[in-house]
Subunit: 186 residues, 4 copies
C-alpha cells in the first residue's frame, strides 16, 4: 500500500467565486486514494520585502509552516496578463525565503492553468514551470493541463459537468499520484 | 525640439537599500534632455482581487492615476526565482484592470534587469516582456539591459562607478529616448 | 503619401499544403495600400554551422540577400512541440550571422501563430518574440495574433472564410502598417 | 546494484571544435558508475517536413532508432539568439514525429547550457525545458546548469580545468543518475 500524500494547493485567484478555487475543490474529489488536497491561503500575505526577513509578518510564518508540512504541491491558476498572477508569484517569493530556507524545495508538483478563454492559461502555466525549476520542485510534464472555456465547466454543486474534462482530470490526478510517488523526498 | 517625456519608473524590489532603486536614480541622471523619470511606488498596493474592482482600494486608485499621467514606462527589476517579483507583477495586474481600462496601454517601455549574480536577471527580463506584449506596451528591443554583478556598481553617492557600465547605460537611455519619440501616443 | 513597404515573410512550415503558407497569402491580400508581402523560402537552408561562415553555402547567401532588401518582417508560424519550428529557428540563426552582420537588425516585425488546435501557437509566438528582442527586430505588441482552429478557416480559393477572423486580420495588417511606419529605419 | 543507464546526448552546436561537444565528452567522464553517454549526431538531419513522414529520409530513421534505444536524454547546448539553436530544435521536431510515435516520450532528461558569455545560455535552457514538457521528458530541476565563461574551461586534453566547475558538474551528473533512477520507464 502506498503512503498517504498531503498536497498543498495554491490557488492563483482571490475572487470569492473563483473558478480556480472551484477547480481546486473538483480536483480534490478526483484525487487517487491516499491523496488529500488542502488549499493554503495566499490572499493575506504581505508583499515580499527582504527587509522583513529578520522579523517576518505572521502571515508569512503561517504560510511557510503550512507548506512545509506538505508532501507535494499543486498549483491551480488563472493567467493574468500572459503570466502568473502577482498574488501567486508573491506567495512563491515568500515561501522561497529566507535564502536557503525555501519551504518548496524537493516537493514534487503539478500545474493546472484555468481560463475562460481558448488559450487555457498557457503563459501562466509555463512561466510558473520556469519558477518551479529554480525552486527545486520537479513539475510533472505530462499530461499538461490547460483548461480553457471554464465558464460553463461546473455544475451547481461545483462538480465537473463535462464528462470529457472529468475523465481528463481524473487521469491527470492519477498521473500526479504516480509522479509524487516517484519523486517525493524521504 | 522634441517634446518633454515623463517616464513612470516601476522598481521591482521593496528593500530600503534596494540596488534596483539605486539603479533607477542613476538612470534618471543619465536620461537625455527633456526626459524626466519618476518612481511610482508599488509597495503599498493591495493584492489584486477582481472582487474589489467595484470599490477599489485607495492604493490602487493613486497608483493608476500616477501611471496614467506618464508618457512612457521604465521597469527596473531584480529576478526573484527566475521570474518577475510578485510585488512588481501585482502592480502590473492592478494597473491593467478593470478590463478595458488598463493605464499602461500604448505607452512605450523599456526593461532593465539588475542582479548581484552573473545572469543579470534574464528570466525576469523576458517574462516581463511577455507581459508587456499583452499590455500593449511596445518594449524597446535593443539594447537589452542585463546588469549583473551589481554589488559593487555604485559609488558612495549612488552614481555608476564602472565607466563601461555608465557608457552602456547612457546609450541605453539615449536609445530609449528615440524609442519613446517613435512610439508615443498622441 | 506613405512610403512603399516591402515585407519579407517567413513561413514556419514546409508542407506543400501548409495552412501557414495559406495564411501568408491571405495576409498579403489584406495588407494596407503600399505594403507588399513576399515569402522568402527557408526549406533549402543548410543547417547553421559556424565553420561554414568563411565560405557560406549558396542557400545562405541567397536567403540573406532577400531578407536584407526588405523593410520589415512578418512571421507566420505553427507551433512545434511548444516552441518555434526548427526550420524557422534555423533560418533566424542563418540570417543572424556572421556576428555583426545580421540581416534582420532594425527591421520592424510582427508575429502570427497558426494552429489547428485551440491554443493558437502561443508557445511559438512568444519564444519567437524573445528571439526578435535579441535580433533587434521591434515586434508589434498589439494586436497579438494567435489563430487557432485553422482547419476550416480558408475557402476553396484560399481566402479567409470566417468573417470575424478576416476583420481581425485586416485590423492586424493595418496596425502593422502603422508599426512599420513608426519604426522603420532610414 | 542499480541498472545500467544508456544516455543519448544531443549537442546543440555543429562546429568541429564545439565547446559544447567538449562539454559532452567531459560530462561522460564525470558520469556515475553504470551510466554511459553516447552522442547522437544531428547535423545531417533533413529539415522536418510533415510531407516526408510517409517515406522518411534515412537520416531521420537512423536518428530515431538511436534515440529510441536510450534510457535517458542529456542536452548540451549553446544559446543562439536567446533560444535553442535551430539545429537542435529540428532534431527535437524530427524525433517527435510522426504524431504519436515520438522517440523521446517518457525518457528522463537534463539540460546543460554552455556559453562563452556571462548569461550561460539561460534563454536556450528554459526554452528547451518548455519543449521537454510537451515531449513528456521529465527534466531534472536542480541543479540547473548554466555554464558561462566557457572559453577557458577546458585543458589541452578536454578535461575541465576549473576545479569548482568540475566539482559542480560531478554533483550534477550524480543528481542526474538519481533523477533517471526515479523516473525511468519500465
Amino acid at each position: 500500500m502506498s503512503q498517504p500524500v498531503n498536497v498543498a494547493v495554491l490557488v492563483g485567484s482571490l475572487r470569492k467565486d473563483s473558478l480556480n478555487r472551484k477547480m481546486a475543490h473538483a480536483l480534490a474529489a478526483l484525487a487517487p486514494a491516499g491523496m488529500t488536497l488542502s488549499i493554503v491561503e495566499i490572499g493575506e500575505l504581505t508583499l515580499y520585502n527582504q527587509d522583513l526577513d529578520g522579523a517576518p509578518p505572521a502571515s508569512w510564518t503561517a504560510f511557510r509552516e503550512q507548506v512545509a508540512k506538505a508532501d507535494a504541491l499543486l498549483f491551480v491558476t488563472p493567467e493574468y496578463n500572459r503570466s502568473v498572477p502577482g498574488v501567486l508569484k508573491n506567495a512563491l517569493d515568500v515561501g522561497s525565503r529566507p535564502y536557503g530556507k525555501s519551504v518548496f524545495s524537493g516537493k514534487p508538483g503539478a500545474v493546472v492553468s484555468v481560463s475562460p478563454g481558448a488559450i487555457g492559461g498557457f503563459g501562466a502555466n509555463h512561466h510558473l514551470r520556469q519558477v518551479l525549476t529554480f525552486l527545486n520542485v520537479p513539475a510533472m510534464a505530462q499530461p499538461e493541463a490547460y483548461i480553457g472555456g471554464v465558464g460553463d465547466l461546473f455544475d451547481d454543486k461545483g462538480a465537473i459537468a463535462k464528462e470529457a474534462t472529468k475523465t481528463f482530470l481524473t487521469s491527470f490526478m492519477t498521473a500526479f499520484g504516480a509522479w509524487v510517488a516517484a519523486n517525493r523526498k524521504g
